[in-house]
C-alpha cells in the first residue's frame, strides 16, 4: 500500500482527519471511493474501539405497554434494553459459539443430564450486591415456576431439580440435553438479585450499563456501569440512548438527519435507496427467521402427503425472495433450519416444479379450491406472497383461494387454529430448540399438527448425543423428515436489515442470533465522532 495513503487512513482512524477529507485525498491519489472506504474501515478496526461518547439507537417494535421485567419481554427493543443492564449465564458470540457471562465456566456430566455452572467470582450487581449462586438459582426458579408468566417457561420444562452449592449452580435434567447452555442464553433469563423475585422491574443486573431514564416504548437512557467486570470488551460508549421510532419512514429520516446513529429493521423495499445516502451503511445479516405457509397435517385435505407435496412444489421460492424480500433473504427448503444454525448440513434444494406439483395434486385425488388465510401482520408482505403463491400454484392446476383476515386477533383466532395460513418464525439459537418448540408431537406450538413418532424419537436421541458428527447427521435426517412429510412450506428466510451511520463503528458482519448483532450492537460498537 502507498505509504501516504496508509498515513492518511491512520490519521482518519484516530480522528485527526475527517472521513470526508480522507476520501477526497484518497480519490486524488487514484483510489475508488469503495476501496477507500474499506481501507478506512480496516484502519478504524485496527485502531480498536474508542471509549466515550454517546450511541443513539432508533429501534422499532416497542410499545408503551412494555414492562422492564425481562420475563415478559417480547420484542427487540425490550431485548436490547435487557442486554444493557443485565446478562444471562452465557451469551451467543458473533460466530454462534458461547461466551461466558455470569457463569465463568460450565461442565456437563457424561450423560448430559447434570450441568454445573460456576458463578464468576467477585462479580457485583449494579446495586453493589455480590452475585451468588443463590441469585442464579432464584432467577431460574422465577422463570420456571408453576405460576410464572415468563416467556422462557417453555425452554425450562425439562428441569428435574436445581440447587446452589457454594459458587456452583447445578441443574439436573429429566432427559439429557446437550444444548442446555444455549437455552440459557435466552434473553428472558437475565440474572437478577434474588432472581428478581422482590422487584422484577428494577433493571438491576450485571450488564455494562445502568439505566438512568426509562420511559418504556419511548426512550431509555443508560450510562456506563463503573464497576462492570468486562469493561474494555463491552460497553465502549459512555451513554447509550434507545429511542423507539415505530414508523419506518420516521426511523430512516432520523438516521439520515443524524438524530440516531443506528436503526433496526430497515424496510427491504427501500434498503437499496438508503444504502446510497452518504455516511449511511445498510447491513444485511442472514438469520434463522423465516416466513411460512403452514398446513395442519391432521386436517383434510392436508392430511394427504401428496397434497402437501403438490403445494410444496407449486411455490416459487426465488420469486418470493426477489419480490417479497427484495433480495434481502435466501430461499428456504421446507425445513425451519438453515445455515445460520450450528450443525447444519446442506440438503438438496427443492425448486418450483409445476409438473411435479400437478402430478402430486392429481395423485392426492383432491378436487376444488384450497383456502389459504393470511393477514398483513402474519409477516410483512404476506398478502402479496399469498397472491404470488396463488399464481404459481395455478400454473400447476392447483386452485388456491385467499382469505384476508384482520390483524386483530390473527394470532389467537387464525394461527394455530385454522388448517392453512401464513405465519412467521423468528427462529431459535439451536436446532433442537426450534424443532422441539414447533415440530415435536407434544410441542405447545406444533402449528403444523405434525405427529411423527420416528421424528420424536430421533429428536430426543439427538438431544443426548455429545458426538458432534453423529448429531449433525441426525439433524440432517430430522430436517429431511420435515421437508418431505411435514406441513411446513418455507419459501424464504428473511435477513435482518439494519443500518448504521459513520458516527459509529465496530459493526460485525454476520453476527449470529437476532438482528442488530443479536441486539448487542450498542455494547459492541463504539462512537467515532
Amino acid at each position: 500500500m502507498n505509504d501516504e495513503l496508509k498515513y492518511l487512513s491512520q490519521r482518519a482512524a484516530i480522528g485527526r482527519l475527517s472521513r470526508r477529507s480522507f476520501l477526497g485525498r484518497a480519490s486524488a491519489l487514484g483510489l475508488t471511493a469503495a476501496t477507500a472506504n474499506t481501507m478506512l474501515a480496516g484502519a478504524v478496526r485496527a485502531a480498536g474501539p474508542q471509549t466515550g461518547g454517546t450511541i443513539r439507537v432508533g429501534i422499532e417494535g416497542a410499545s408503551t405497554t412494555d414492562s422492564l421485567d425481562p420475563a415478559t419481554t417480547t420484542n427487540s427493543a425490550g431485548t436490547m434494553v435487557s442486554r444493557l443492564w443485565g446478562e444471562p449465564l452465557m451469551i451467543l458470540a458473533a460466530d454462534g459459539s458461547l461466551e461466558p457471562r455470569v457463569a465463568e465456566s460450565v461442565e456437563a456430566s457424561a450423560d448430559a443430564k447434570t450441568w454445573t455452572f460456576k458463578v464468576r467470582s467477585g462479580m457485583t450487581f449494579s446495586n453493589g450486591k455480590t452475585v451468588t449462586a443463590d441469585d442464579v438459582l432464584a432467577t431460574i426458579e422465577r422463570h420456571s415456576g408453576e405460576d410464572t408468566k415468563s416467556g422462557a417457561l417453555g425452554l425450562l420444562r425439562g428441569i428435574a431439580s436445581m440447587r446452589a452449592e457454594g459458587d456452583n449452580f447445578i441443574l439436573e435434567l429429566d432427559q439429557a440435553n446437550a444444548d442446555l447452555p444455549y437455552l440459557l442464553t435466552d434473553y428472558h433469563l437475565m440474572i437478577q438479585p434474588n432472581g428478581g423475585k422482590d422487584d422484577p422491574t428494577a433493571a438491576i443486573g450485571t450488564g455494562p450499563y445502568i439505566l438512568k431514564s426509562m420511559d418504556m416504548g419511548v426512550r431509555v437512557v443508560a450510562e456506563k456501569n463503573p464497576n462492570y467486570w468486562n469493561a474494555g470488551e463491552l460497553g465502549h460508549a459512555d451513554t447509550v440512548e434507545i429511542i423507539v421510532i415505530n414508523d419506518d419512514t420516521a426511523r430512516v429520516a432520523a438516521l439520515q438527519s443524524g438524530q440516531v446513529d443506528m436503526i433496526s429493521r430497515v424496510p427491504p423495499r427501500t434498503a437499496g435507496l438508503i444504502g446510497r445516502v452518504p455516511g449511511v451503511t445498510v447491513h444485511s445479516t442472514a438469520g434463522p427467521g423465516h416466513y411460512v405457509f403452514i398446513m395442519h397435517c391432521n386436517t383434510a385435505p392436508f392430511d394427504n402427503n401428496d397434497l402437501r407435496l403438490a403445494l410444496k412444489y407449486g411455490i416459487n421460492r426465488q420469486e418470493m425472495v426477489d419480490k417479497i424480500l427484495f433480495g434481502y433473504g435466501s430461499v428456504g427448503n421446507d425445513s425451519p433450519i438453515n445455515a445460520s444454525y450450528p450443525l447444519f448440513s446442506e440438503a438438496e434444494q427443492r425448486a418450483y416444479d409445476p409438473d411435479k406439483a400437478a402430478h402430486h395434486f392429481k395423485k392426492s385425488g383432491h378436487d376444488g379450491p384450497i383456502l389459504l388465510r393470511t393477514s398483513d401482520n402474519s409477516f410483512p408482505g404476506a398478502p402479496d406472497a399469498s397472491a404470488l403463491f396463488q399464481q404459481s400454484a395455478k400454473a400447476a392446476g392447483i386452485p388456491l383461494e385467499i382469505k384476508r383476515e384482520p390483524n386483530d386477533g390473527y394470532w389467537s383466532e387464525v394461527w394455530n387454529k385454522q388448517p392453512f395460513c401464513t405465519s412467521y418464525w423468528s427462529g431459535r439459537p439451536v436446532q433442537d430448540q426450534m424443532l422441539s418448540t414447533a415440530y415435536l408431537s407434544s410441542a405447545d406450538w406444533n402449528d403444523t399438527r405434525f405427529f411423527n413418532e420416528q421424528f420424536d424419537q430421533l429428536l430426543v436421541t439427538a438431544r443426548a448425543e455429545l458426538d458432534l458428527a453423529k448429531r449433525t447427521q441426525m439433524y440432517a435426517d430430522l430436517s429431511t423428515i420435515i421437508r418431505d412429510e411435514g406441513g411446513l412450506i418455507c419459501p424464504m428466510f428473511n435477513d435482518f436489515v439494519g443500518a448504521t451511520s459513520d458516527r459509529v463503528d465496530g459493526w460485525i458482519d454476520g453476527h449470529k442470533g437476532f438482528g442488530m448483532m443479536d441486539m448487542q450492537a450498542p455494547l459492541k460498537m463504539w462512537a467515532t465522532a
Partner: protein
C-alpha cells in the same frame, strides 16, 4: 346569586352529568371489545398455563357491574388503577403523556389561533381580491393534504435536507424550554397547517355575515378605515361562532393528533392510547377515554360560556 354565576354552575353540573353518562358508555364499550386481554398481552408466545395464570391475576373473571363500580369509585378519588400490561400506575404515566400532549397543543394553538383569525380578518379586508384568494387557496390546500404526508414532506425538507429542526420530536424533562420548542417545531408546523383553514374560513364567513348589517354602513359613513371597522365593530359581534370553531379545533389538537404523534415519534397521549387498545389494556383505554371526553366537554363548555358572555342579549335574558 348573579345570573352569570348561576349559569356557570348550571353548565358545570351539566358537564359532570354528561361525563358520568360517558363513563357508562366507555365502560360498556370496552367490555364488549372482542379479544382477550391475556391473549393479547402474551401474543404468539402464549401457552395455556401462562394464559390462565395471567387471567386470574388480572381479575378478568369478576362480573362486569362489580368491576364498573369499583372503577368508578377509584375514578372519583383520582385513582385510575394500574395498567394491565406493564403494571405501572396509570395516573402517573398518563399524567406525563397528557402534559406532553397539552404542551404540543398549547404551542400549536398559540401559533394557529391568532394566525387563523388574523388571516380571516385580512381575507375580509381584501375580500375577493388576490390576498383573499391566496389565503383561501393555501389554507384549503393544506387541510386537504393528509397530515402524515405534510409531516413527511416537512421532515424531508426541513430535517433531512436543511437540518433546521429534528425529525424526531422527542422531549424530556432534562431539556430547556428552547430545546423543547426546537424539538416540536415540525409537529407544531404540521398541526398549524391542519387546523388553520377551518378557523380561518369560519372567521371570514362570520365577519362577512356581520358586514352586511346596517351599523357597519354607518361606521363606514363615519369615515372609519376598513380594518378598524372590522376589528372594532364586526369582530366582537361574530365572536360566538369563531369561539365555537376555535374550541373544536383545540379539542382536535388534544385528542386527534395520533397520526402526527406517530410520524414524529412524539410521546403524547395518542400513541399511548393506540398501544394500549391493541393490547386490550382496558383500564388505560378507559382512563384515556375519560380524559378525552373531559377535554371535549370542558372546551365546549368554555365555548358556550364565552359566546353567552360575548352576547348582551344572552347575558341579560328577559
Amino acid at each position: 346569586m348573579s345570573p352569570i354565576l348561576k349559569l356557570l354552575a348550571q353548565r358545570i353540573a351539566l358537564g359532570l352529568l354528561l361525563l358520568f353518562l360517558v363513563s357508562i358508555l366507555i365502560f360498556a364499550g370496552t367490555i364488549i371489545l372482542p379479544g382477550d386481554v391475556a391473549q393479547s398481552i402474551l401474543g404468539q408466545s402464549a401457552t395455556p398455563e401462562a394464559l390462565a395464570n395471567l387471567r386470574a391475576e388480572l381479575g378478568l373473571n369478576d362480573p362486569p357491574l362489580q368491576r364498573y363500580l369499583s372503577w368508578l369509585g377509584g375514578l372519583v378519588q383520582g385513582d385510575l388503577g394500574t395498567a394491565l400490561t406493564s403494571g405501572q400506575d396509570i395516573a402517573s404515566s398518563l399524567g406525563n403523556r397528557l402534559k406532553n400532549t397539552l404542551f404540543l397543543a398549547f404551542w400549536a394553538a398559540i401559533i394557529s389561533v391568532p394566525l387563523a383569525i388574523f388571516l380571516g380578518l385580512l381575507a375580509v379586508r381584501y375580500r375577493d381580491r388576490w390576498p383573499d384568494k391566496l389565503i383561501s387557496a393555501v389554507t384549503l390546500a393544506s387541510i386537504s393534504i393528509p397530515e402524515f404526508l405534510i409531516g413527511y414532506v416537512l421532515m424531508y425538507i426541513v430535517a433531512v435536507k436543511l437540518r433546521w429542526a429534528p425529525s424526531v420530536a422527542m422531549i424530556n424533562d432534562s431539556m430547556s424550554l428552547g430545546q423543547k420548542l426546537n424539538s416540536i417545531a415540525l409537529p407544531v408546523a404540521v398541526l398549524t397547517l391542519v387546523v388553520l383553514a377551518h378557523m380561518m374560513r369560519m372567521t371570514r364567513a362570520a365577519i362577512l355575515n356581520v358586514m352586511q348589517s346596517a351599523y357597519i354602513e354607518t361606521a363606514e359613513l363615519k369615515g372609519m378605515s376598513m380594518f378598524v371597522i372590522i376589528w372594532r365593530h364586526a369582530f366582537p359581534n361574530s365572536i360566538a361562532p369563531i369561539v365555537n370553531v376555535v374550541m373544536l379545533n383545540l379539542a382536535y389538537l388534544v385528542v386527534g393528533v395520533v397520526v402526527v404523534e406517530v410520524v414524529f415519534t412524539y410521546p403524547g397521549m395518542g400513541q399511548y392510547l393506540v398501544d394500549h387498545v391493541s393490547k386490550r389494556d382496558i383500564p388505560v383505554v378507559q382512563a384515556c377515554g375519560m380524559i378525552f371526553a373531559a377535554v371535549y366537554i370542558g372546551l365546549n363548555m368554555i365555548a358556550d360560556v364565552v359566546s353567552i358572555l360575548a352576547n348582551p342579549r344572552l347575558r341579560h335574558p328577559k
